[in-house]
């Protein structure tokens, strides 16, 4: 046996490939599929939402932690605010929720509707309100979000995104964490359409409670003259969208022939 040393002509163990092309094809395909799945699941969420009962929603809201704090900071204001909310709920809204007011001390001019029926009102907002009617409108607007199940939509979309991210990248991945940070679940911002529907609901609550809609847009118009935009929540009117909201509310008032009468002073 004679040994003839010889180099192989081609390297059979390595496929000739263009890694950049591979990368773009794979990540492009993945992006397209993810976007398609996201939209499909978005539609699915819209289909499922009407079938989720308020009891189930309450159970889901537990993941946001225990919001029921001792209301010792502003007992008088809290009692009156809760009473106003209860009046609106019992006489006009009659929604299957157990609404609870939480007053938090902050300069933010905002009110938040959290899942499960907890409504947080910041002292910044209470300081700016001059009539009971304005406050009733704001509360009506917030419970309008519950009537339209708006939280669940926000929750649903965020949940869908997180599920996709975990399925693709695993629970312990830098890319997955990036996606998670991008979604601030606790922020729970609503779309323009959801806000418009909540405005309609708020207006109807106002009309039902007082017999007229005086004070509906007062709050928005007044704080548009304020200087400092940083303390505003989703009520800040320097944003052109809020001008649209005021117009939309005024149009509703005109179309439904709502009246405007004397306002009740703020407590």
């Amino acid at each position: 046996m004679k040994y003839t040393p010889r180099q192989p002509d081609t390297n059979v163990n390595v496929t000739p490939t263009s890694p950049l092309k591979d990368f773009f094809v794979l990540s492009g395909g993945l992006l397209v599929i993810t976007v398609a799945v996201y939209f499909l699941l978005g539609f699915a969420v819209d289909l499922i939402i009407p079938h989720i009962s308020p009891e189930t929603e309450k159970k889901m809201s537990v993941i946001f932690g225990n919001l029921a704090e001792k209301e010792t900071a502003f007992p008088e204001k809290h009692r009156k605010l809760q009473a106003l909310l209860d009046t609106i709920q019992q006489n006009c809204a009659k929604l299957p929720y157990d609404f609870k007011i939480h007053i938090k001390k902050a300069d933010t001019i905002n009110a938040l509707a959290m899942p499960g029926g907890h409504i947080i009102v910041f002292t910044g907002l209470l300081d700016k309100v001059t009539s009971e009617n304005e406050l009733a409108y704001i509360l009506g607007h917030e419970i309008g979000h519950y009537a339209n199940r708006d939280h669940l939509r926000g929750l649903g979309r965020a949940l869908v995104f997180m599920t996709i991210s975990v399925a693709l990248f695993g629970t312990d991945s830098s890319i997955g964490n990036m996606v998670g940070h991008g979604l601030n679940i606790s922020e729970m911002s609503f779309s323009r359409r959801q806000e418009a529907k909540a405005d309609e609901f708020g207006l109807e609550m106002l009309n039902c409670t007082y017999g007229h809609v005086g004070g509906a847009t007062d709050f928005f118009s007044r704080i548009s003259k304020e200087k400092d935009p940083s303390i505003f929540g989703h009520y800040f009117s320097s944003h052109p969208e809020n001008q649209e909201r005021i117009k939309h509310i005024n149009l509703l008032i005109k179309n439904r022939n709502f009246k405007k009468e004397k306002l009740k002073a703020m407590f």
Binding site: N11, V14, T15, T17, P19, L26, L168, S174
Partner: protein, 150 residues
């Protein structure tokens, strides 16, 4: 946002540095393979020499650890979702094996033949027991036989 920029930077760095490293390594491998061609390394256990012809027989081994770059790792992760051959790791395994054989031959020095050659590979590093590859180690070992010249 900064995380995305860092990610893209690492990706570009991995791609360029990785490509350069791979090309220069292959050049070195091919060069040394040509030089060491005269020393056969075979997997056969029997050798065509009788006992009194053998001067010495020693174990020789070559090992190398090669790491994969960031770009290749990401490509493999994407491939893990869709399935198929992970081409980005093929060159890694190939280079590791060939380099290990070459180092084994270099250890053998002026031996006549290396018999009973085996190659083993292992993954080491942070991702070794999870999905993904950190570094790949290849060990080639065999018996270097020096035959008496008569």
């Amino acid at each position: 946002m900064e995380q995305l920029i860092i990610f893209l930077f690492l990706l570009a760095l991995g791609y360029t540095a990785g490509t350069i490293a791979e090309k220069s390594h292959y050049r070195s491998i091919e060069q040394r393979e040509r030089d060491l061609l005269r020393l056969p390394a075979i997997t056969m256990k029997q050798i065509p020499y009788s006992g009194d012809q053998i001067q010495s027989a020693t174990i020789v081994h070559g090992s190398v650890v090669i790491s994969v770059d960031y770009f290749k790792r990401l490509l493999a992760k994407l491939r893990n979702i869709f399935g198929g051959t992970v081409k980005s790791y093929e060159s890694l395994a190939d280079r590791a094996r060939r380099e290990a054989i070459l180092r084994m031959k270099e250890m053998a020095g002026s031996a006549t033949i290396i018999v009973n050659v085996r190659i083993e590979t292992a993954t080491i590093g942070k991702n070794a027991h999870r999905k993904g590859v950190g570094c790949m180690e290849a060990v080639a070992y065999g018996t270097a036989v020096v035959v008496k010249k008569n």
